[in-house]
Symmetry: D2
Subunit: 338 residues, 4 copies
C-alpha cells in the first residue's frame, strides 16, 4: 500500500466508540489504532484484541504524550469533550469529536481558541451530513435546482424513548436529540439561523414530566428570511423516521426514509411494504463510515474538516435558544447566546 | 325519480359560483336552480341558459321571498356573506356559504345567532374536508390506526401568486389562503386549538412588501398538548402542493399529492414522473362535488351539516390570532378572540 | 351553444350501453339520444326517461330509417355487431361499436367493406387506448423518449372471474378478456404483430376445466423484431391490476395502477396503502368518456376515428392465432388468419 | 474469538474472485485465505499481500494436497469448474463454485456424483438468491401471503452489452446472462420447470448478428401449471434493471429496483429521482457477502448448502432447452435434457 499510515488514539469505548473503531478496522487499512482509553477497560479486552488495538489504557495522557499518534478520536461523555479537545490540541493532535461538542458556551469557546492556536484540525461527528440521502438534497441546493431555499422542513423521530436514567442526564431533548436537527437546519440552508421558537410536550409517558419533554416542534428563522420547521418525537412506533425537505424559488427536494427492501405486497386487504429501518445504526451505517473517511482525508490532504468546531458550537447555541424559547414561550434571538 | 326536488337560489356568479352551479347541473338531477343573483347579470345570460337556470336577477330579495326556494347558496364576496346568511336564515332557507364566513367576529356571531334562532342549516364550504385523500387520513385517525395524534403537519402551497390587486383586498394570506389550513388543522385533530405562533416573509416578489406576506410557517398548540405545523407558499413552481400528515401514538398517516397519471419514465438521465396537478380546480374537482352532495343530503335527511357556521367562525379566529402573532412575533392564545 | 347537435340511436341497453348513455348525458350536451333499442325494453323505461331518451324500441330498423339520426352506437351482444354495422353503414350512419367487433373473420371483412363503400366512420370501443396512463406511455413512445421499442409488457388481471354461464358463451379468455391486450400490444408498438405464442391454464377454479382457461401468458413478435409479453389472470384478489411497460433503446416507461387515494399509513406492523381500484368501471371511468368525446369529435370534424374497424379486425385475428397456439402448443404466424 | 477458523484456497483471481476475497477479508475474520491460485500470479502479488493471502501459486494441486485447507472457492473460467470440483471433492474439501457450474451436462453429472461419493458440500454462486429484495419476495411466498404462485415475472436487463470478444466466448445470452434468471425462476416457484419457450433478437447492435442475441423473452411452464415470463436486454440505458414479481391465488409481491438514494426533486418540468444503480456490483454488493456467509455457516454447522450442485445443473438444463427453443422456434420439454 502506498497510502501513508495514520496512527490514532481513541477515547471512549462505549457504543458509539465501538461503532467507529469497527468501521475503521473494516474500511481503512491505513489506520493504526494504537490506544483505546476508557475509565474501565477490563470488559473491553477481548474486543480490543479482535480489533487489533495495540494498547488499552485508563490514562488518556499516554495518548497525548505519544509522538506517533496523529489524531485523537473522542467518544467519551459530553462533559469531557472540551477537556480532551484542549489536551489533544495542545499536544498537536488532530481531533475527531462526537456531538455535541459540549454544554457550556464559554468552555466551548475556550476549547476552540486552543484548537486554533495550535493549528490542529477539529471535526465534529454530525454524521447525518454524510448520509447519502441528505447529501443528495444538499447537492440539489448547491446545484441551484431548487433555487433559493424558502422553507426547510426536518422530521426526526426516534423509534423508542431512551431509559429514564439516560433522559435525566441527557441535557434534555433539544441538546441530546434535536442537536442533529439544529445542525441539519444549518447544513441545508444558505443562511445562518437568526431566531428560534420552540415548544414541546410530554405526550408519550408521564414518567418524564418535570424532567424533559418527549415531543417537540420548532420554527427557525434565517437571516435571509427563509424559515425552517422541525418536528421531533421520542417514539415513532413504525421506525426511525428521518426526512428532510427544502422548498425553494425553483422547486423542492425531499429525502424519504430508507427501507430494508423495495418489495411491495398486494393482498385483498391492502398494499404493504416492510417498515422503514428501526434504528439509527441501520439507517446511518454508511454515514458513519463516510464521515470517518472525510476526517482521514482531511488529515492526509491537510484540508479543513467539513464540520468544524464552530459548527459544533452553533448547534449548541441554537439548542440553548430553543430551551429558553420552550421555557418562556416566545421566540428567542440566537444573538443572545453568541 | 323518487328523490324529492330541492329548489335553490344562488348568490354570486363568479368563478366559484359557476363551478358549483356546473357541478349541480351535472351531478344532482333533483336540484332545480331557480335563481342566480349577481350585481350584474348581462354577461351571465348565455351561460345561465345553458345551465337551465330559470331566472337571472340583481335583486337577492326575490330569492328570500320565494316560498319555493329551499336553500340559498352564497358565493358572493366575503364582506357580503353574513348579510346574506342573516337574510336567508330569517327567510327560513337552509344555507351553503363559501369560506371564509366573514371577517368581523362580532358580525359573524350575530349571523350564527340568527341562524340558530331560525333553525336553518348552515354549511361552510371548506371543500378540502371532502377531498378523498384527506378524508382517508381523517378516517385513519377515527379508526384509531395512528392512536392519539401528537404532531399534525400541513403543507399547502399555491402554484403562483394571485395578482397584486387581488392581494390588496384579500384580507391577507392568513385569511385568504391559510384559512383552509386553519380549518384542516381542526379537522385532523382530536382537540381544539389553544394557541398560535405564526411568522412569514416576502420571499417571492418585493411588490407585495408592506401589503402582505407570501411565505409563512406556523405552529398551533391544541388543548390536549398535541401540536401542528403549517407551511405556506404562494409560489410552488412544480404545482399545487397539498400534503398532510398525522403522527400519533400508534403510527402515522400521510396524504401525498395527486398526479395527472401514474406513469414513470426511465432514461439515461433520471427517473421522471409528470408534475403534480397544477391548480386547485384539477386537484379538488371531486371534493367540490362531494361537499355539495353532503349539503343536499343534510337538507333531504334533515341532519346537521358536517361543517357548521361555528367551524367557519373558528377558522377566522385562528387567522386573527395568527395575524396578531405575525405582527407581534409571539405566540397568541386563541381565547383572545373568543 | 354554438356546437351543432348530434343525433344518435343506441342499440343495446345492458351494462355497457347504460354506461355510455350516462356518460353522454352528463358530459356532451350537444348529443341527442333519440332511440334506445333492445330486445326487451320494459325494464328500461324509467331509466330511459331519466336519461331523456326520446324513444324506446325493440325495432332497430326505426333507427336506421330515421334521417335525423347521425350515428349509431352498438352495445349489443358480439354476435350481432357486424349485422348492425352493415345496416348502419348502408343507412349512411356513423358507427361506434363495442369490442370485439365480431368473431368470424370473413363476416368482419364483409362488414368493413360495406363501411368503406358507404363512406361512414366506424370506431371500435377499445377504451383503454384513451386511459390517461396508457396515453401518457404512448406519448412517451411517440416523443421518442424511450427510443425504438424493444420489449413491451402488458399485465392485465381481473379482480374476480365472471360467472360460469358467462364464461361458456364468452368465446374464451383470448377473445373476451385478452382482446383488450391484443389491441394494447398494437397500440404501444411501432410495428405490426407477426407471430403469437400463447399458453394458459386453469388455476383458479376447476369448474371451467374443458370450457376455458383462467390464467394465461403470451409472447408476441412484431415485424420489426421487437417482442411483447402479456400475462392475464381472471382473479387478482388485490384488485384490477392493469400495467404496461415499454422498454426501448433510449429508456423505458411504465404505467402503474391507479389507486383510490394517495394516503400512506405507517404502523408498527407495516407501511400500508389502500388497495388499487377493484373494478374496470372505477379504473377506466374517464377513458369511456374520453373515447366517446373522440368519436363525437370525429363526426363533428369529419376525421378518421383513432380506432378503426381494421383495428377491431386485427385484435380478433391475434386472438385466433393465440387460440390456435394454445391448442397446438406452438407459435402461430398471424398471416394464417389474414 | 470463539469461532473456529476456516482455511480456504481460492482458484481464480479475476474480477469475481477478487470481489469474493475482499468480502471475506472485510467481513469474516475467522477465515484464513491460505492460497490464491491462478494461471499467472505476478499482477496479483501486491493485492494478495494487502489481502493477507499467505501463498500465491499457479499450481492448484498445492491447495488440494494441503490438509489444513477446509474449503476451495472456484472463481476460474466456466470450462474449468467441473475439473476443479472433482479434484476438490476427491481431496475432501467443501466447495463454493461460481455460476454456471459448467456447460456439458454429462460432465456436470459426473462432477456431482463425485461430490456425493466424497460427502463434501458444494454450493453454487447464484448470488441473487441472497439479495435482500428477492429474499423478501421468496419469504412472502413461503409465508403463504400470496398463496399458490400462478404467474412469475422476471425482468433482468444489463446496463450495457459486454465487449464483442467476450460475447463470442460467453456461451450465448441464455448461458451467460439468463442463467441467473433460470435459477431465479426455480427459486421463486413452488414447482419444477417442465417446458421452455424462448425467443430473441439482435436489436441493440448488428455486430453480434450470427454470434448471439441481445434481447430475449421466454415463457416457462412449471409442473404444477404455473407459468413464468422472463425478459432480458443487454442494454438498459437507465441502469441495471432487476425486478421480479410473484402473482398468486392470494395476492402478488414485487421487488422494485434499488436506488442510490431516496431523494425526490420537484421542478417546473417534472418530478425526478436519480437513476437506479448502474452496475451489478452496486446492486448486489450485499448479496455476495450474504451468500459467502451462508456457505461458511454450512461448513461450520455441517448443513446442506442452500444452492446445491443440482441447482447448478438445473439452470444449465433450462438454458439448453431455451437455446433449442430459440433455434427451432417451438416449446421444448426440459425432460429432453435430463
Amino acid at each position: 500500500m502506498t497510502e501513508e499510515e495514520i496512527c490514532v488514539g481513541v477515547i471512549g469505548g462505549g457504543r458509539i466508540g465501538k461503532l467507529h473503531v469497527e468501521n475503521i478496522v473494516k474500511n481503512f487499512s491505513n489506520v493504526k489504532i494504537k490506544y483505546l482509553a476508557d475509565i474501565k477497560t477490563d470488559h473491553l479486552e477481548e474486543w480490543a484484541k479482535e480489533m487489533g488495538i495495540i494498547k488499552l489504557t485508563t490514562d488518556t495522557s499516554e495518548i497525548f504524550e505519544d509522538a506517533e499518534v496523529n489524531a485523537v478520536l473522542i467518544f467519551s461523555s459530553t462533559d469531557t469533550h472540551i477537556k480532551f479537545i484542549k489536551q489533544a490540541a495542545k499536544a498537536g493532535k488532530d481531533i475527531f469529536c462526537e456531538k455535541p461538542i459540549g454544554s457550556d458556551i464559554e468552555n466551548i469557546k475556550e476549547g476552540l481558541e486552543i484548537v486554533e492556536q495550535n493549528g490542529v484540525k477539529l471535526m465534529i461527528g454530525f454524521n447525518r451530513r454524510f448520509d447519502h440521502n441528505f447529501r443528495r438534497v444538499r447537492k440539489a441546493v448547491d446545484d441551484g435546482i431548487v433555487g433559493d431555499p424558502h422553507i426547510i422542513k426536518i422530521t426526526s423521530r426516534d423509534p423508542a424513548p431512551p431509559p429514564l436514567d439516560y433522559v435525566k442526564v441527557s441535557g434534555g431533548l433539544f441538546f441530546d436529540m434535536t442537536i442533529h436537527d439544529w445542525d441539519m437546519a444549518r447544513y441545508l440552508a444558505n443562511s445562518e439561523v437568526k431566531e428560534v421558537y420552540a415548544t414541546g410536550q410530554v405526550l408519550i409517558s408521564d414518567e418524564i414530566k418535570g424532567i424533559d419533554i418527549d415531543t417537540a416542534v420548532a420554527i427557525l428563522k434565517y437571516k435571509d428570511g427563509s424559515m425552517c420547521t422541525i418536528d421531533n418525537s421520542r417514539k415513532a412506533v413504525y421506525g426511525y423516521d428521518q426526512r428532510i425537505e427544502v422548498f425553494g424559488s425553483k422547486g423542492a427536494t425531499m429525502a424519504e426514509n430508507d427501507t430494508p427492501n423495495n418489495v411491495v405486497i398486494y393482498t385483498d386487504e391492502a398494499t404493504k411494504r416492510d417498515k422503514m429501518h428501526h434504528f439509527f445504526l441501520e439507517r446511518y451505517t454508511q454515514s458513519y463510515i463516510d464521515e470517518m473517511k472525510e476526517f482521514l482525508k482531511c488529515i492526509e490532504e491537510d484540508i479543513e474538516p467539513p464540520v468544524t468546531g464552530k459548527d459544533g458550537l452553533k448547534a449548541v447555541q441554537i439548542a440553548m435558544a430553543a430551551q429558553k424559547s420552550l421555557e418562556e414561550n416566545e421566540p428567542v434571538e440566537l444573538s443572545e447566546f453568541e
